[in-house]
């Protein structure tokens, strides 16, 4: 008995250690980025000395933008990106989860084809997707702007949610749903009160993936945006020509710090995991 327990504990310890290393790996460039946000040089890659100047510059820019004094394209694009990504995530989660559920629930000859279609946005090269969506939007006379960007993002984000949820549904015990209905729940209630909670970890995974993909997408966004809908990654791409300014590191560092703080401090959001 003790042997088994210590065996499992050892395994857990090893797994924890490994995970710690992986987390370190994931955050190494972030640490560097934060360090370089204090770079006094105006080119991000050449370290010249320690300075807070980019933080003060960013602070001023944000203050000016928020108070309406001076519009900051950088801040505006950052806000746009977050808003777009949030909307995209919501719709991708709905579309992806519903899709996964329906493809699991129903069986019909075209099922395999539809599933294949879902994978297409993942394999199609971004430039082709961007250009063909642009042509498509033009042909249906849809003006380029936030809507078109959001539509394009949802299109390549929702497959990630769908596939993640599908994996979770595979091997689910059908007795789960049957039991709920035996106890008097309508199919709809059974769905929302039993199956959705069951799928939740995968929904969250999928949602996180969708948000990430949308936040950092460049090529398709380039083709489907309108003149007033700039996103942060597009802005960053442009700045590479002159040399990435440390202010980009600063804004990234601030963003990371805020999100990590929120994540760690947040109350456990849902008890829906089980």
């Amino acid at each position: 008995m003790a042997k088994k327990l210590s065996g499992m504990r050892l395994v857990n310890l090893l797994l924890g250690g490994w995970s710690g290393l992986v987390f370190l790996f994931l955050y190494i460039p972030i640490i560097l980025l934060i360090v370089y946000s204090f770079n006094s040089s105006k080119m991000a890659i050449v370290w010249e000395g320690f300075s807070f100047k980019w933080y003060t510059a960013l602070g001023h820019e944000i203050a000016d933008h928020v108070s309406g004094t001076k519009r900051s394209p950088l801040v505006e694009s950052a806000i746009n990106s977050v808003i777009i990504a949030s909307i995209v995530t919501v719709f991708s989660v709905i579309l992806g989860t519903a899709g996964a559920w329906l493809l699991y629930r129903y069986k019909f000859p075209a099922l395999r084809s539809i599933t294949t279609l879902v994978y297409i946005p993942m394999i199609i090269p971004e430039i082709i997707m961007g250009i063909s969506l642009l042509i498509f939007f033009k042909s249906v006379s849809l003006t380029l702007g936030f809507t078109t960007v959001i539509i394009s993002h949802i299109t390549f984000c929702f497959p990630f949610v769908l596939i993640a949820v599908q994996a979770r549904l595979a091997g689910v015990d059908p007795a789960l749903e049957e039991a709920a209905m035996d106890l008097g729940a309508t199919p709809m209630k059974a769905l929302f009160l039993v199956m959705v909670p069951y799928m939740m970890p995968a929904i969250i995974s999928g949602g996180l993936m969708a948000f990430t993909l949308s936040l950092d997408e460049v090529i398709v966004t380039y083709f489907t945006r309108g003149p007033t809908s700039e996103t942060l990654p597009l802005r960053v791409y442009g700045l590479a020509k002159v040399g990435l300014s440390p202010i980009l590191n600063t804004i990234s560092a601030v963003f990371i710090a805020v999100t990590v703080a929120l994540t760690v401090a947040a109350e456990s959001v849902k008890g829906l995991n089980k």
Binding site: M43, I45, V46, P73, I83, S86, I87, V90, F91, V93, I127, I131, L134, I135, K138, T143, L144, G145, F146, T147, I150, V196, Y222, F223, R225, G226, P227, T228, S229, E230, L234, Y237, G238, L239, A240, K241, V242, G243
Partner: protein, 364 residues
């Protein structure tokens, strides 16, 4: 999922969807008279918004803001990172842009396809500030369609701390002893042009035979290069990963500003000039506003701002008078004068050029 939250976000979606109802691109009464018509007696009115489609960071924010302040026209500045990117969005039917910023060979191609609107010079009197040597060039021989923005050259940068040998031309750069220390532009047309020049041919003389002739030389060159980078070749220099390379003069100028050890040399076999200009697409909704913008940036004090951010060669002679001696002394920004060719539009053979370099890279 919390229904209220969902509803709120759905509403946000609709709000933002409505945000981009077609902007008032309705140009005024007369969207710019065509070149052939007689100029109207009354000054034509511009539209309220200007869609500027230009290289990222090529148009300083102060310039944009200054223009808006002076004219009351709102400028939407959309960016791209290469001519081809611009072209692909423009041709796929992007938003109606009022101004684009193509390089010379792209202007030539667009003019051939009748996709540019002629300029009414009465609205752009400051055009007189432009260096006469940059007028009447092959891509726009009658000066009908473009206003030069910045010009530059493509040349050799050497870290003179690391390399003491004299470097005079392409052949000196691509030597076996520098293997793994070379940076090159990631541009198949450029590389082919250099190979042609190094072989005594003209850089625009791109034919299947000539491509075959320079193939062996290019194959050798490709093996020696450590980094191919068109976006920011200075990075490799600053990181100490390369000591020599062939890059845009603007990059070289930025390197020189950072440290004078980075020398800029124009290859003796021949160097070409490139000119980025403003042009107005045929489908522009606000042609008058576009021309007003052109006139605005041709003002010496405005052009000076552009030079400060972007140390390329300023084509505006009046603006050059306002630059500091240090700026003018930068050998990459203002190289010794000389007769240089510009790139011509090569049409369909561009795909052969691309295939050649792709092949060579892939066989490494």
């Amino acid at each position: 999922m919390n229904r209220r939250l969902f509803g709120l976000i759905f509403l946000l979606g609709i709000v933002f969807g409505c945000k981009d109802k077609p902007a008032p691109t309705a140009a005024s009464a007369s969207p710019g008279p065509s070149g052939s018509g007689a100029p109207t007696a009354e000054k034509p009115k511009p539209g309220k918004e200007l869609n500027l489609f230009a290289w990222s960071e090529y148009v300083p924010q102060e310039v944009v803001d200054g223009f808006s302040k002076e004219t009351g026209i709102k400028v939407n500045y959309e960016t791209y990172a290469s001519n081809e990117e611009m072209l692909s969005k423009l041709l796929a039917g992007g938003t109606n842009y009022d101004l684009i910023q193509p390089s010379e060979y792209v202007i030539e191609a667009l003019v051939k396809q009748k996709k540019l609107a002629p300029i009414d010079w009465s609205l752009v009197p400051n055009f007189k500030n432009i260096d006469p040597k940059l007028k009447g060039l092959p891509h726009d021989p009658e000066n009908k369609f473009s206003v030069p923005w910045m010009t530059g050259t493509v040349g050799i940068v050497v870290n003179t701390d690391k390399i003491k040998d004299p470097i005079k031309g392409y052949k000196d750069v691509f030597q076996k002893k520098y293997k793994g220390r070379i940076v090159s532009l990631n541009d198949s047309r450029e590389m082919v042009a250099w190979a042609l020049e190094a072989s005594g041919l003209k850089s625009n003389d791109i034919t299947t035979e000539n491509l075959a002739k320079v193939k062996p030389m290019l194959a050798e060159w490709v093996k020696l290069v450590k980094v191919f980078d068109s976006d920011s070749p200075k990075t490799a220099f600053l990181n100490g990963d390369v000591d020599i390379g062939v890059v845009w003069s603007g990059e070289a100028a930025l390197l020189y500003q950072n440290n004078k050890k980075f020398a800029y040399i124009l290859p003796e076999e021949g160097a070409h000039l490139f000119i980025d200009s403003l042009a107005i697409p045929d489908s522009a909704p606000n042609k008058v506003g576009a021309m007003m913008f052109m006139d605005y940036i041709l003002k010496p004090e405005v052009s000076k701002l552009i030079s400060e951010k972007f140390p390329y060669t300023n084509p505006n002679l009046e603006a050059r008078k306002l630059l500091t001696p240090e700026q003018l002394a930068n050998p990459a920004s203002y190289p010794p004068a000389g007769e240089r060719e510009t790139f011509r539009d090569i049409g369909k053979i561009s795909s052969e050029v691309d295939k050649l370099v792709t092949d060579l890279k892939a066989s490494n």
